[in-house]
Symmetry: C2
Subunit: 429 residues, 2 copies
């Protein structure tokens, strides 16, 4: 079964908006084992739309169309689809009633141009839109099923899941197998290393393994197929366990669980608490940590010790230490972590101090040099890194590294420094 | 001149990544008055790619192709393009030398499969890639110019601007008018209000006005056309001045200048300094401020006073005040700003304290309630807001509001609270 996604709208071709509908639709299709072979976008132009519909009818079995269902002059998807395949437009009375009710509910006046949103090609099936004004429709033409959906992402998502996916799955019939997938999150291992370490884990017809980089992480995406949902789920679980066995603690979380959420869960389980002292990251570490709902159970706060004055006054870092070693140094990283831990009486404290760039580097301490310290009940550890990215990414990877280090410490496996570009060890400039 | 953009890669059709290259390329083309008529994406499949190339040759004058230039087995764009139009592949020695040099520079070994990245269709022109390993190329076939670029956005952007745009502009020749555009950044005004206030400013054939929402901002995008670059530039400047005249201080910046960069510039001009005290924003305000390169000239640091204990110990907020008024209150917001200003001796201090959600709201203080205070040489001001978004967006809009407030104060126009959902004033629950 070949699928095509067509998105419609001048704004897409002008590049004014990034088209997220295409990837959304293709990702959902994959969940029911339907593979997208073509994506295309066309202007709100009848000739171009007709051309795209005819080509799609020739080359695809199902076609998902998004956009052009609104009430304005530009919204001509339904009319052009009908014309392309020689269908008349007919008024769908239940949709008309739903439109009237919709406008009453949101307290806006229904304009005459809205009425066209209740007209559909003869022989098509109307797809309800409970959260917007534009219903969608399914039209079968020349052996291909066209599903027209609104371009507004929220409405599209609802209609895709509730109305379109069940119909597509039914059409795929016996051909469709059940599919289940997961995301396993890793940090600090390159994609080629992952590929090497996971060789053989997925090379059968039932489980495929994909890779996706979401800086600074690398995600693994096992996809399992089965005759039933239970079989697919079982195969997926086995694949996840096999991957976690090989990679161990390097897999830090599954699916939506972020690094900060994992750290928060581990701390909450232990009844332990965290504080931070940030120089080069300027607040990003605290921001990440407090993005977890309920963080107040285990995060007390911290200090953005950007200037030396702030390191002295808010954390008690001695001025002499700063003068002797510089702000980006092991003693200062240690003093920062210990200073904030002592002031807030937390179990753990993380500190960062470094040169994010673009300026401020020296031969001895190039841009990207960062010291991270982790203070806890058994003392303080500090390590330096040289990250090779731009200012923003150096800060992102610094925060992820600090959180991962605490995670490994909490799991009792931090004897080794997390894998990454490590200054001394890797001998990098 | 008709343009088409083709992006290539299985990962696009699986929906694993959102394709930002298409909108990027179309937006750049528009700057030189070239309009994109078709977007399409195909798999790493020779037959599908060939089909797409042939169709593009029939219907477009210039075709921008992204992806499939890497060293792996999947990367076949150049080979398929050559085959489609009956060209031989020939080794381009300068590219081979550049490849060898590139791998030496990044300290990685060059694998034999990398060598194919120096092979190009006979008669094509090689496009340099100074920041990656894959050069691009331009091939003219059947009257259409194909520009192949790497799929990695950073490399694509560089090649588009440096190599492709000048060549496309030259091909457009006399047909192309000069086009210049700008972004005017506003915060706190809705799109429909902007449309109303700017009515008539752009309704001639030479200047168009677009709108774009980039939460929490609304951007205006005037686009001016002229027979010459000078004329387009002059019209653009006149349009920008007219918009700024109408909206006044509500336009906070132009083009790439972020709110934090504007605040930093104003502080640096005055030789003044800033500190922050963040509760609900957890560090985001400091992070934004320190994302500006050179922020150390005017930002000293701050305190992430998430728990009450941190407000007391690090900022000296009295425990009694916290008990009486609660952490989300005017006295506490004031005490936080004043506490950090005093400790770091800065000219200005901003504080935030609120309920970001999803939990923690009450009837009196619903989720989204935020107090912001601004302490400075003429005393401390505080205001409360109720933001209607989710946790992450409530924090983003809080930070932008705090920065905008300081900006207005520095410009001497802060008598009014910035426009937004303001609790008491707007009578919201």
């Amino acid at each position: 079964m070949i699928a095509e996604v067509i998105t419609i709208g001048d704004e897409l071709l002008r590049g004014e908006i990034i088209d997220t509908n295409k990837s959304y639709l293709s990702e959902r299709l994959l969940e029911i084992d339907v593979h997208t072979r073509y994506h295309c976008s066309v202007l709100d132009d009848p000739a171009d739309m007709k051309d795209a519909f005819l080509r799609a009818a020739r080359r695809a079995d199902i076609v998902l169309v998004s956009g052009g269902l609104g009430p304005t002059r530009d919204d001509i998807t339904i009319a052009v689809l009908a014309e392309t395949f020689g269908r008349k437009l007919v008024r769908h009375e239940p949709s008309m009633a739903a439109l009237v009710a919709f406008f009453e509910r949101v307290g806006r006046e229904m304009s005459p141009s809205n009425a066209k949103q209740a007209d559909f090609p003869e022989g098509s099936e109307v797809l309800e839109n409970p959260i917007g004004s534009a219903p969608g429709c399914m039209l079968e033409a020349e052996g291909t099923a066209f599903f027209c959906m609104p371009g507004i992402p929220r409405e599209l998502h609802e209609m895709m899941v509730e109305q379109v996916m069940p119909r597509v799955a039914r059409r795929a019939g016996g051909q469709a197998r059940a599919v289940r997938s997961a995301i396993l999150r890793t940090f600090g291992i390159g994609e080629s290393t992952l590929e090497d370490e996971l060789r053989g884990i997925a090379d059968d017809e039932h489980v495929q393994l994909g890779f996706r980089t979401t800086f600074p992480d690398n995600f693994l995406r096992p996809v399992a197929h089965g005759a039933t949902v239970a079989e697919a789920r079982e195969r997926l679980e086995a694949a996840c366990r096999a991957i976690e066995d090989r990679l161990g603690v390097q897999v830090y979380g599954r699916d939506d669980e972020s690094m900060e959420a994992v750290v928060g869960r581990l701390l909450a389980e232990r009844g332990e608490t965290l504080a931070v002292a940030e120089s080069c990251t300027g607040g990003l570490l605290g921001e990440r940590v407090t993005s977890v709902a309920g963080a107040s159970a285990w995060f007390l706060g911290g200090v953005q010790a950007y200037a030396n004055l702030a390191k002295e006054r808010l954390l008690g870092v001695p001025a002499g230490m700063l003068a002797t070693h510089g702000a980006v140094s092991e003693p200062v990283a240690r003093a920062m972590a210990e200073g904030v831990r002592e002031r807030l009486g937390t179990t753990w404290a993380l500190s960062t101090t470094g040169i994010s760039g673009p300026d401020g580097g020296t031969d001895e301490k190039p841009v990207g040099t960062v010291w991270i310290a982790c203070a806890g009940p058994r003392g303080t550890e500090a390590h330096d890194f040289v990250f090779p990215f731009d200012r923003q990414r150096n800060r992102q990877v610094t925060v992820q590294m600090a959180l991962d280090w605490l995670r490994r410490t909490l799991l009792g496996v931090a004897r080794e420094v997390p894998r990454w570009v490590h200054t001394r060890a890797a001998g990098r400039r």
